[in-house]
């Protein structure tokens, strides 16, 4: 178990789990969305850590450079970032409408209002 070799991955996992924890425990809808964002962004750290090559540089061809980092995970994460922000936008639109119709964005208060009817 080589700590130095996998340090990046483990910190990424810790961040993922913090985000996951925020999503599960908090009842405020906006906090949940932020936690979700935290979770997905940390997955990106995991992917990009995989792509790094020791002694390499950014994968833009320049004269004199021999070693490049792997460009494929970069492409995947570019797509994933955009997907993440699209999800956040839709989630926030739903939050706005929930506030309009329920008057609150706390999950337990919303449950109370629905059960009261």
């Amino acid at each position: 178990m080589n700590i130095g070799a996998h340090y990046n991955y483990w910190v990424a996992i810790f961040l993922m789990m913090t985000g996951f924890y925020v999503v599960i425990t908090h009842g405020n809808l906006i906090k949940k969305l932020i936690g979700l964002n935290l979770f997905t962004t940390s997955v990106f750290i995991l992917y990009i850590s995989m792509a790094k090559v020791k002694g390499g540089t950014a994968p833009i061809i320049a004269p004199g450079i021999e070693v490049y980092s792997n460009p494929l995970p970069h492409v995947l994460i570019l797509t994933a970032i955009v997907v993440g922000v699209a999800t956040t936008a839709v989630g926030l639109a739903l939050v706005l409408l929930i506030y309009d119709r329920y008057g609150t964005i706390e999950e337990d208060e919303i449950s109370l209002k629905d059960d009261a009817l």
Binding site: M1, A5, H6, Y7, N8, Y9, V11, I13, L15, M16, M17, G19, F20, I24, T25, G27, I30, I34, G35, N37, T41, F44, I45, I48, S49, M50, A51, K52, V53, A58, P59, I60, I61, A62, Y68, S69, N70, P71, L72, V75, I77, L78, T79, I81, V82, V83, V85, A86, T88, A89, V90, L92, A93, V95, L96, D100, E106, E107, D108, E109
Partner: protein, 331 residues
């Protein structure tokens, strides 16, 4: 040196994540999430992912923070309930984390040049892409050409987000805001009273738009491309809205027009694909667009990046307008 930066950034990320969990005031939490995003972008730079860092900074720090702030402007600013079932959540989270850590044990070491992912598919991209596509930025060649179909999907995702906001919130709500402001005699937002801000922003906006165009068309040679350019272009409009008011901004370009522009962007991208089909190649095979395959690649990438930039810009501004107009309804 790199290692120290790496470890420092990761530590700060950890602290920020824990703080997000603890703090109740939503405004602080949103600022922290913006900081988190920026730290991630810096981390990506140290790991040689410059295009990704650019996009994360523009999209994650920029757009996400703006949308979150607009939302709390229209709703609550304070989280009121305590965390529920913390023990159960801790259990689930620790179990998942443990499985993941267990899973990383057989992964190649960080930075190892002999890892499987560097042996199989990537070498062709690194060695051949300049001859086959003619772009210096390998990430752009993969994004726009080799895996161009994924990028079409991505553009559709953004378009879907815009459609969702339009479908859920509706154009009528946005127009009502402008009408009410005009009826009340309000011609600009109260930020417009700050003279220095007004003049400086007026100087900045054209520069921002110019920079956006630069990023759009230089994606072949350096970090950049349609997504980042679209977001930066949108931020110019967002600046204008903050200074001069939503009503004025919606008169420059109305939400309905923005939805048309967004649809056009997706159709440009898809249209390039259909054109390649009609010219005898596979879908999105740019080689058939021109007699010289390399020229065909350049033309194809240019057009699709234009489509992407157009859609991203219009959807980002549209979503911002939709969110900002809710604030007026609450007042």
């Amino acid at each position: 040196m790199e290692l120290i930066i790496d470890i420092t950034l990761l530590t700060f990320l950890g602290i920020t994540a824990l703080a997000i969990n603890r703090i109740d005031k939503l405004f602080c939490v949103i600022m922290l999430s913006g900081i988190y995003s920026l730290l991630c972008a810096s981390l990506f730079v140290t790991m040689d992912a410059v295009d990704v860092a650019f996009t994360e900074a523009a999209v994650g720090t920029g757009i996400a923070t703006v949308l979150l702030l607009s939302t709390i402007g229209a709703t609550d600013t304070q989280q009121r309930s305590a965390p529920r079932r913390p023990l159960f959540a801790l259990l689930v989270v620790c179990a998942t984390g443990a499985i993941l850590i267990y899973g990383t044990m057989d992964m190649p070491a960080f930075g190892d040049p002999d890892a499987p992912i560097h042996q199989h598919v990537a070498p062709r991209y690194l060695q051949e892409s300049q001859q086959e596509i003619g772009s210096d930025n390998i990430v752009t060649s993969i994004l726009s050409s080799y895996r161009g179909f994924d990028t079409l999907g991505e553009t559709v995702v953004i378009f879907t987000a815009g459609l969702s906001v339009v479908g859920l919130i509706g154009f009528r709500g946005m127009q009502k805001f402008g009408d009410r402001q005009r009826a009340a005699g309000i011609t600009q937002d109260d930020m417009g009273k700050h003279l220095v801000l007004r003049i400086v922003i007026k100087m900045f906006i054209p520069l921002i738009l110019l920079f956006a165009l630069y990023v759009q068309f230089h994606g072949d040679f350096g970090p950049g491309g349609g997504f980042q350019a679209g977001v930066i272009f949108a931020s110019g409009f967002i600046f204008y809205t903050l200074m001069f008011g939503l009503d004025a901004a919606m008169r420059v370009v109305s939400p309905r027009t923005l939805s048309y522009i967004a649809a056009l962007g997706v159709l440009i991208y898809g249209g390039v694909g259909v054109a390649t089909l009609l010219m005898g190649g596979n879908f999105l095979d740019y080689n058939v667009l021109r007699s010289n395959p390399l020229q065909g690649q350049h033309l194809g990438i240019f057009l699709i990046e234009l489509g992407v930039g157009t859609t991203v810009f219009s959807i980002m501004v549209l979503i911002f307008f939709a969110f900002s107009s809710r604030k007026g309804l609450r007042q």
